[in-house]
């Protein structure tokens, strides 16, 4: 009998290939434990036993408890079946390519924002859509209280805009994104006992000068440079001109956090630039403390991060509770920097003007700062956050624990 391809046979063949190829490749391919782009551990194959309350029951009363109506049909959590579905989708063969296909389709039907990322031509933008005013007020109160408790310290606040503010004229107003400028102005109005640093006006003229990464939510070294100029003006020293620096491009294949959200390969990868003083960098000793152990570096740049995905962390290392930078500037000026990761690329510039800079990250600190450092050593303290992380941060208020 001669084989004849009929439309029905074609349909059956295609369907069979798809429904078998996907599970088989998924089962055969080696499983990854972590998703770098999502920055999380992937689901492990769910334990066949011990998945419901009933299975876990050890004695009669626990069995009776499990039989209660409320517990028998837990559909959404804890059931083996749902864990299995999560496991399957976490390890699906070609998972990131499926996400890309999906995002391309989203763009095709006219969606402008994918996973909280708005894409202009060759620039991704993390959107600032909403914030909790009460939460922000608590942070502002805590900072004001800190300034009040430390009258001898010169306290300042720098709220950095993100790419959205610089490119706001290119985003339609109906998109409903908030104005970061108004947000910063509102916050600054409520500050007392401290100076506020207006880095937005220093940045805004340089929208097209690559001051924000295309694929990451941070500012570039150049962006940080303009913020440094703004800080210098307020804090009373003269900043180095751009021409005093030699620029070293440490990497030109950086794909950052915003890339991870859209996996859009069409956006040009970013470069990581180090700005080195042409007249010679100060000698530094950087001590990174994670609360238990300390690691000492002789540079502000942790170059091992250039080989992994998270290349931005090569600026002073990834977020740590306390990082102390001692330099040979020897002017006796010490700065306490209470910050988020935007400060990491700012610190190389600031380090030219201080004997010592200590960066603290309130997300990892649950105690009075006096327990960690000697506050009396610092003549200046600066709060430094970007608008988006500041507006949703619940940890800054912990500064109120500090006497």
């Amino acid at each position: 009998m001669k084989f004849r391809m009929t439309p029905a046979k074609l349909m059956i063949a295609l369907f069979t290939i798809v429904t078998l190829a996907i599970p088989i490749t998924t089962a055969v391919l080696p499983k990854q434990e972590r998703s770098e782009n999502e920055n999380r551990t992937l689901e492990k194959f769910p334990d066949i036993v011990n998945h419901t309350k009933m299975d876990k029951a050890q004695n009669f009363s626990e069995v009776m408890d499990a039989i209660k109506w409320d517990y028998i049909t837990v559909r959404d959590k804890d059931s083996w079946m749902d864990d299995f579905e999560t496991y399957f989708s976490d390890h699906l063969a070609g998972r990131e390519d499926w996400v890309r296909v999906r995002n391309e389709m989203e763009k095709l039907v006219g969606k402008k924002e994918i996973n909280g990322v708005y894409t202009l031509n060759d620039q991704m933008i993390q959107v600032f859509k909403e914030y909790d005013a009460d939460m922000v007020q608590k942070s502002l109160d805590a900072m004001n209280a800190f300034a009040e408790k430390h009258p001898d310290m010169q306290v300042s606040l720098m709220l950095a805009p993100t790419a959205q503010e610089l490119f706001s004229s290119e985003i339609p107003t109906y998109a409903g994104y908030l104005s970061e400028k108004s947000f910063i102005d509102e916050c600054y109005k409520k500050m007392s006992g401290m100076t506020t640093i207006d880095c937005l006006s220093f940045l805004s003229g340089h929208k097209n000068d690559y001051v924000f990464y295309r694929t990451d939510h941070h500012w570039t070294s150049l962006g940080a440079y303009y913020a440094y100029c703004a800080a210098a003006k307020t804090l009373g020293y003269s900043s180095y001109g751009l021409d005093s620096f030699n620029i070293e491009t440490a990497s030109s294949s950086f794909r950052g956090t915003l890339y991870s959200k859209t996996l859009d390969n069409s956006i040009t990868p970013d470069s990581i630039d180090y700005y080195m003083l042409a007249s010679g960098e100060p000698t530094v000793k950087m001590t990174v403390s994670d609360g238990r152990s300390e690691t000492v570096y002789d540079s502000l740049y942790v170059r091992s991060y250039l080989d992994v995905k998270d290349k931005y962390s090569s600026f002073t290392g990834s977020n740590s509770p306390v990082v102390t930078i001692e330099t040979d500037v020897n002017n006796g000026k010490n700065l306490l920097l209470i910050k988020d990761s935007y400060a990491h690329s700012l610190v190389p510039f600031l380090s030219k003007h201080y004997s010592k800079i200590t960066m603290v990250d309130m997300r990892y600190i649950n105690t009075d700062l006096n327990n960690l450092i000697d506050l009396s050593e610092y003549q200046q303290a600066m709060f430094m956050f970007n608008v988006v992380s500041f507006s949703s941060d619940v940890n800054i208020r912990k500064i109120a624990l500090t006497k």
Partner: protein, 476 residues
């Protein structure tokens, strides 16, 4: 389990079908039975017992009704047992909580609410089982003596969770003797993929818009936003539900069954009565056969007909869920259908087709406001009424805003999806594919399977990456 999950598509379905096709004919019903129980138990491990109990009682009742054909009292008793059991299950799991809450609210009582979780598909499988005992009592069908075959009818996984409501009569021949042809399987696959695409690519996406708008304060919606919200739901529920029916019908075909159709382009109707002949057809038929006709239908004079219609439609409403808004929704359609029967129907036939369509569509859309613009868990009648009222007044510009930034943003982001929805819910696509089939039959025959495969892959891209996969018909 739901069809639109990786577990179903890439584990349950291939394994079940391979076994189903390999085993000899006699064993196929056992495969259906076992796979159905696994399908149902996946996520409802304990409630599968409820279904087994219900099936066992209906099977036994059927055997007795058949055996004592000349003993009317025994037959009636068996029917009553079956009805009381099925309606009792439905009442306990679906309506008890609502009744208790209402009694507590009216009389200031404090009866504890047991808060029983709803077994998936209970509204569907109880109705299917009842159709068997009632039809057997009426001597319209032959008894099923093989317990496995009867159980296969109830647990047939394609339709177990969300219909179509397959009456025993519909598949009584196929359950015992069916042939599976190559063409049936090919058509079934194609139909299944169409349904999957409707659900995953269209319903879920337009549903995002409704979820977003529904979460806003109704008292500040602009008119355009309010319209877009409820239109989004209008399309979401159609593509979700009809997509699910398509998947069920397709899977049925792949296994050798011809299930009844459930949707026939309902949004192209020219009267509300016609809408209900095109929307959830199997449910309408069920109520017609087992409630409307036994009540006397339209044979007992006009006043009685009107009462019958109102009863049937109110029950239809309640069937969709234990809450006031569903009852109102049912009664709303009952009233519209009565008005159409009294005089409006004749008017609709005379006016230009566009206007009768517009009237029908708008009425249905207002119906969806009753159906879904109410926050879940609103037990009191007043709460339901005020939410619906606020929403409808927003649609008429009652908040003083016609178009705002939010609405513009929705139009930009969802305009194309709306266009796809309008296109997909009309029969334009059917006409178009028919035309292509006629003009270029070979291209069409071999091209459509490829298109279907692309739709399937696109659906997988959404399924595997979006956590947003709520299933609208779980609670009905």
């Amino acid at each position: 389990m739901v069809f639109s999950s990786l577990t179903f598509l890439f584990a349950f379905l291939p394994i079940t079908l391979i076994i189903y096709y390999l085993v000899p004919k006699k064993a196929k019903n056992v495969v259906i039975l076992v796979s159905g129980l696994v399908f149902y138990a996946w996520g409802e491990p304990v409630y599968v017992l409820v279904m087994i109990l219900s099936t066992f009682i209906d099977y036994t009742a059927g055997r007795i009704i058949d055996k004592y054909d000349d003993r009317p009292k025994i037959r009636t008793l068996c029917l009553l047992v079956s009805l009381i059991m099925n309606l009792g299950l439905l009442g306990t799991f679906k309506y008890l909580g609502f009744i208790i809450e209402s009694l507590n609210a009216w009389f200031g009582l404090a009866i504890p609410n047991p808060n029983l979780p709803l077994p998936i598909g209970i509204s569907f499988f109880t109705f299917q089982s009842m159709s068997y005992t009632i039809d057997l009592y009426r001597r319209q069908i032959k008894v099923q003596k093989n317990a496995a075959s009867f159980m296969a009818f109830v647990t047939l996984f394609p339709q177990i969770v969300a219909g179509p409501i397959v009456r025993y009569e519909d598949i009584q021949n196929e359950i015992d003797e069916r042939t599976i042809t190559e063409k049936m399987v090919g058509d079934g696959i194609s139909r299944f993929i169409v349904g999957l695409g409707k659900k995953v690519l269209i319903a879920n996406n337009i549903g995002l818009l409704w979820t977003e708008i529904k979460a806003l304060e109704y008292g500040s919606l602009s008119a355009v936003t309010a319209w877009m919200g409820i239109l989004a739901f209008t399309f979401q529920i159609y593509f979700d539900f009809s997509g699910y029916s398509d998947m069920a019908i397709g899977l049925g075909k792949m296994m050798g069954f011809n299930f009844p159709e459930n949707f026939n382009y309902p949004y192209m109707s020219h009267s509300v009565s016609e809408f209900w002949r095109r929307w959830h057809i199997t449910l309408g038929d069920w109520f017609k056969s087992y409630i409307y006709f036994p009540l006397g239908g339209s044979r007992k004079g006009l006043p009685r007909t009107i009462i019958n219609l109102l009863i049937v439609w109110t029950i239809t409403g309640i069937w969709h869920g234990a809450s006031w808004n569903f009852m109102l929704w049912g009664a709303y359609f009952g009233i519209l259908i009565v008005i159409e029967r009294l005089f409006l129907g004749k008017v609709l036939e005379k006016i230009p087709a566009f206007f009768s369509w517009l009237y029908t569509f708008v009425m249905v859309v207002f119906g969806w406001v009753l159906f879904d613009a109410v926050a879940p868990g609103t037990v009191d009648f007043g709460g339901v009424f005020s939410q619906v009222w606020t929403y409808i007044s927003a649609m008429f510009g009652g908040n003083g805003v016609f178009l705002d930034n939010a609405a513009t943003n929705y139009i930009v982001n969802y305009g194309l999806i709306f266009a796809i929805c309008i296109f997909g819910s009309s029969d334009v696509l059917k006409t178009l594919t028919g035309y292509i089939r006629k003009k270029a039959p070979v291209w069409a025959q071999y091209g459509f399977p490829v298109v279907d495969t692309v739709v399937m892959l696109a659906s997988v891209a959404y399924l595997s990456t979006s956590n947003y996969n709520p299933f609208l018909y779980f609670n009905f």
